[in-house]
Amino acid sequence: MVDAPIAARGRRNLGVAVFFRRYAALAGLVVLLAFNFAVTPNFASLQTLNVNLTQVAEIVIVSVGMTLVISTGGIDLSVGSLMAIAGALAPLIFLSPFGAAFPILGDALAFVVPVVVATLLGLFNGWFITRFQVQPIVGTLVMFIAGRGIGQVLTNGNLQVFHNPVFQFIGLGRIFGAPFQVIIMLIAVGLAAWMLRRTLFGRHVLAVGGNERAARLSGVPVDRVKQFVYAISGLCAGVAGLVVISINSSSDANLVGLGMELDAIAAVAVGGTPFTGGQANVIGSMVGALLIQLLRYTLLANGVPDAAALVVKGVIIAGAVWSQQRGRTA
C-alpha cells in the first residue's frame, strides 16, 4: 500500500500514531462515505460514483507526477500551464486541413504530439532546475507564467470547439462501463507505485529526495533523475490536458488546468507525502484527491454553497497535514 521509506524504519514501530499518519486520509474517506450513505439522498448509485470519479481523474493523473516531484524534494507549479498547452495543441492538429484530410493520422498525432510537447517542456523544467541550480518553485514558476501565454498565443486566446468522437474517447469513452480516464488514472497510479517500489529509478527518486548529497556521493545520477521526474510530471499534465478538453468538447487556453497545480499539491499533501522529500505515497495522493473531491460533493449535495466548501477544503488540507506531522514526530 504505502511505499516504504528508504530505510525500513517504518516496520519497527507500527504504533497508533504511525497508523494514524499513514491512513488518516483513508480513514477520512471512509467516514465521509459512511456519512454520505446515511445522509445524502441517492448517494448509493452508479451515477454518483461515475460523476465523482470522472471529476477527480484529471487531478489524480496530475498528482501522480506531482507526487514523484515532491518526493525528490521539489515542486512543479507548471502543470496547469502544460495542460493548457497540450489542450491547445490537440485541436489545432485534428482541426487543421492536414488532420481533416487524414483523420486517422490526425487523431493519432493529436494524441501524441501534445503529450510529447508537454513531456519535453517538463524535461526543460528539470534541465533548468538542475543546470542552473534553481529552486524548483522558481524554476517551474517560469513555465507557469510563460506556459499559459504560449497556449494562448497558439490559439490567439480563442475557444476551440470541436466534435471528434475518436479523439474524445480519452475523456468520454467507456470500457466495460468504466470511464476511460478513470482507467488511465488507475494505470498511472499503479505504474508509479510499482516503479517506486520495484525499480532502480524509483529507489533513486527516493534517495535523491531523502538526502541529495548522499545520493550524489553514492553514485546516483541526481540531475538525470530530477530531469526525468519533471518530464514525467509534464507527461501526466499533458494527458490530463487532453482528458479535460475531451470532456468539455472545447479547448480554452485561458481556463484549461487553471489552478491545477494547487489542487494536485493539495491532494499530495492530504495523501501523506511529506514535502521534505524522500518518501512517496502515490496511492495516498489518489486517496487525498478522492477525499477532497468527495468532501466538496458532500457539501454541495447537502446545500452548502461552493464558497464555504473552499473554506472547508482549506481546513481539511491544514488538518490532514497537521495530523500527519503529529504522527511523524510522535
Binding site: 534553481v134 522558481v138 507564467i145 498565443v153 486566446g157 521534505t276 464558497a307 473552499l310 491544514a318
Partner: protein, 321 residues
C-alpha cells in the same frame, strides 16, 4: 566591504540597470511613455502588486513563502467595499483588518501547528478565497460613492496617486524595518539559519509569526486599493498575484533560500515586470507589430528565466565566498 556585500551591491545595481534601460528604451521609442498620464497610471495600477510583493519579500527573506496574498487581497477588497458606506476609515480599517486576520491564521498554522509554509498558506489561500466569496455572495460588491472611500484608489495627493503614496510609504517602512530594527535583522538571521537563530536565543516563532501577519496586512492594503480603484470589492480577483509577487521578489534579487534580500530591489522587480506589460502596449500602439496581450506572460516568463540564469552565477560566487 566584505565579498558577499559587494556581490549583493552589484546585484542590486543590476536590477536598477535593467529598470533604467527599460525606461530609457521606452522613453526613446514612444512619445508619451514618460508622459504624466502613463507614469501615473502605471504607478496607480502596480501599487497593489508592490504591496503584496513587499509582504512577500519579508516572508521569503525569512525562508518562507506566502501563497495567500492574492486571495487575501480579494477578501480584503470585499470587506472594504462592504464597509465603504460608513466612510473612508472603516473601509480602510476593515480591509486591512481582514488581511491581518488571514495573516494571523497563516502564522498560527506555521508556528503553532508546525505546517510547512507552502501548505499552510495554500490552506490560508483557500480559506480567504472562500470567505471573500461567502461575504460577497459570489458577486462583485460595489463600493459606496457617497463617502470619500474611493479617494484611496482614485484620488491624488500632491500630484501623485494615493495608492502610490501608500505603497511608497510601505516601502520606506519596510526598508527601515529591515535594515534598522531588531525585527528586520532577526528576519534575515532566521531565514539564513533557523536552527542557529534558535540556539542564539532569538524569538524565532514570534518573528516568523509577525512576518506572516505583516504579509497579510500588506495584502489587506492591496485589497483596499483594489476596491477603491475599480469601484468594487472583487472576490474572484487576486488569482495568480502570489506568483507574480514571488516573481517580482526573485527578479529583485532576493534568494528564495532566505537570509538575504532587499526591500528596494523588490520594488524595482515589481516595476520591471509591470513595465514589460506597459512597453508591450506601447509597441502595439506603434502599429509595426501586433503582439496580443498574451505575449506579455510569455515575455514575463522568459524575463524571469533570464534573471534566474544571471543570478545562478552570483549564487555560485556566494557559495565560493
Amino acid at each position: 566591504m566584505s565579498a558577499p556585500k559587494a556581490v549583493a551591491w552589484v546585484a542590486q545595481q543590476r536590477v536598477l540597470i535593467a529598470l533604467v534601460a527599460l525606461i530609457a528604451f521606452g522613453a526613446l521609442r514612444y512619445d508619451h511613455f514618460l508622459g504624466a498620464f502613463n507614469v501615473l497610471s502605471v504607478l496607480r495600477y502596480n501599487s497593489m502588486f508592490a504591496l503584496t510583493s513587499l509582504g512577500m519579500a519579508f516572508v521569503i527573506m525569512n525562508a518562507g513563502i506566502d501563497l495567500s496574498v492574492g486571495t487575501t487581497a480579494a477578501c480584503a477588497s470585499v470587506v472594504a467595499a462592504l464597509l465603504s458606506p460608513y466612510g473612508l476609515l472603516p473601509g480602510l480599517v476593515g480591509g486591512v483588518g481582514a488581511g491581518f486576520v488571514v495573516g494571523v491564521v497563516n502564522a498560527f498554522m506555521i508556528t503553532r501547528m508546525r505546517i510547512l509554509p507552502f501548505v499552510a498558506t495554500l490552506a490560508g489561500m483557500l480559506m480567504a478565497s472562500g470567505t471573500g466569496l461567502l461575504l460577497a455572495h459570489n458577486q462583485s460588491i460595489s463600493v459606496s460613492y457617497d463617502t470619500d472611500f474611493t479617494w484611496l484608489g482614485q484620488g491624488d495627493f500632491l500630484g501623485f496617486p494615493v495608492p502610490a503614496w501608500i505603497a511608497g510609504l510601505a516601502y520606506v517602512y519596510g526598508s527601515l524595518v529591515l535594515n534598522y530594527t531588531a525585527f528586520g535583522r532577526y528576519i534575515l538571521a532566521i531565514g539564513g539559519n533557523e536552527d542557529a537563530a534558535r540556539l542564539m536565543g532569538l524569538p524565532v516563532d514570534t518573528v516568523i509569526f509577525w512576518a506572516y501577519v505583516q504579509s497579510g496586512v500588506c495584502a489587506g492594503f492591496a485589497g483596499v486599493i483594489l476596491a477603491a480603484q475599480f469601484g468594487a470589492g472583487q472576490p474572484a480577483e487576486g488569482v495568480g498575484w502570489e506568483l507574480f509577487s514571488i516573481a517580482a521578489v526573485v527578479v529583485g534579487g532576493t534568494l528564495l533560500t532566505g537570509g538575504m534580500g532587499s526591500v528596494v530591489t523588490t520594488l524595482f522587480g515589481v516595476l520591471l515586470l509591470g513595465l514589460i506589460f506597459n512597453v508591450l502596449n506601447f509597441e502595439n500602439g506603434l502599429g509595426w507589430i501586433s503582439l496580443s496581450a498574451f505575449w506579455q506572460s510569455v515575455v514575463r516568463g522568459v524575463f524571469l528565466m533570464v534573471v534566474v540564469m544571471a543570478g545562478s552565477g552570483r549564487r555560485r560566487a556566494l557559495a565560493a565566498a
